[in-house]
Symmetry: C2
Subunit: 256 residues, 2 copies
DNA sequence: GTCCATTGTCTCGTATCCGAGACACAAGGG
DNA sequence: CCCTTGTGTCTCGGATACGAGACAATGGAC
């Protein structure tokens, strides 16, 4: 692609950030240099720049370096700006065109899913899952699809055994163990469903989008009138949603 | 401090990321070059590198560039690793020693607060706000303190007028408008309180930690037996919590 | 107290890279 | 259809920066 030199310091700085992100706790500078195969003086210099810009914090008492608040700001800006939507938008548009049902794209944010794209099918009503709306993840197909792919430990942190689970329209799992049973099914099927938990009379099918490391970062879903679409039609919708989610996963792994 | 050259490409790459984070939507490359005062060829080259590493996404149909999924991963890693904790830890430890009440430090995550430090005072019981536990922000002193400092638009996005508000122990605001009234008081006082919303018989006082741009990123809080601590003592605890939060804010603005 | 390893800073010369500017293509306006 | 502006790619030479390695300070083990 580009014939220019590789802006080595930019590459190295990004490599430092990614390394720090991969570790559960901060690292000493010598470990950073060793793991990345970089000269110590270069690493110290880059750490100084990353610190000055807020991307890295120096824990002087422990002689370690960790991610800084600017990475949090980038992550927050990303969640607000949702560049994933640009990747997912065309895929979702085609899914909606093909199935003639409305669809949406959402990311997990704590216990919630945040809707970042809504694609309304021609002739269908507006949905509650409008852009920037948040809903409890456990009540939605998108949220359940994402939760189903989370590591067990992270799921337990989100939903401790006696944690409160919000209800909506009198539906949805009432306890964390009931939720886990729902997620076992979703993991087995490769997609999640909800019936009337979000909007009475409507159902949704959602499938998770996975990142480079296989972690769920988002979900694609379709919403349709629950009593009009029979089981064979639901199976076809489920297959289409799964395919769309896989397509988005492939796209975010590759070049934007 | 350092006498080395400034690793200009690293600096420029980070500047690009920060610029993209400041904007609500993606930008064309020419706008990035103009706003940062950088040569176009350098910007294209850096964008190519940032894309290859996943920090930037190229929206080809719109000829724009936005933040990529790696920034989301950094932000998530930051939230998990919580470098803030290293900054806040000594400040919280001193607060707890001085007041003899248990304290904690939390960040906002969607509708939840995530507890990243717990500092138990000598002779005090363990609290439900253990590390990695999440609770609904609107029920907790830490969460209310953070919500109180959010821009009104972001608060509305989080709590639309008819959104569900989870209850716990039968307490806490039951509606978004009730929550807003609670937050008006918190904003006026510079700290937030809760009484029994988290643990029956215990109260908490929390104050928000602000980042460079004045946005709330975390909160410091103390928890104490609600019926044992009288009003004058509460005022003194509130002042101590506010001072601790300000100290953490100062520290994250300066060098790590 | 001594020794060794690690942390953090600093210098400077050679190798690398940054950016000016050319070029091709695409998009939008008249 | 033509012209202008913007997008994106590419080359290459002079200027800059990267990294080898020296040095001082600190911390831990004995």
């Amino acid at each position: 692609m580009d014939q220019m030199a590789n802006a080595s310091s930019a590459l190295h700085a990004l490599a430092i950030l990614k390394l720090l992100a991969r570790h559960a706790s901060p690292l000493p500078a010598s470990a950073i240099a060793r793991d990345l195969g970089l000269p110590r003086s270069s690493v110290y210099h880059l750490l100084a720049i990353l610190r000055a810009e807020g991307f890295v914090a120096h824990l002087a008492e422990e002689h370690r370096y960790g991610l800084g608040v600017s990475t949090f700001e980038l992550g927050s800006a990303y969640a607000r700006q949702t560049p994933l939507r640009w990747v997912a938008g065309p895929v979702l548009a085609r899914l909606v065109d093909r199935t003639t049902h409305s669809g949406h794209f959402a990311i997990l944010h704590g216990h919630d899913v945040l809707y970042v794209i809504e694609e309304r099918a021609a002739g269908r009503p507006a949905l509650v899952t409008d852009v920037d709306v948040r809903l409890p993840a456990h009540l939605t197909a998108s949220g359940r699809a994402i939760l189903a792919e989370l590591p067990a430990q992270q799921l337990r942190a989100l939903y401790p055994p006696r944690g409160p689970l919000a209800q909506r329209n009198g539906t949805g799992p009432r306890s964390a163990s009931a939720l886990r049973r729902v997620l076992v099914d979703a993991r087995r099927d490769g997609y999640a469903q909800e019936d009337g938990s979000v909007t009475v009379g409507f159902s949704s099918i959602g499938a998770a989008v996975l990142d480079h490391g296989g972690h769920p970062v988002a979900a694609v879903a379709l919403t349709f009138p629950g009593d009009v679409v029979d089981l064979p039609a639901r199976d076809r919708l489920a297959a289409a949603v799964r395919d769309a989610a896989r397509e988005v996963s492939r796209r975010i792994r590759g070049r934007g």
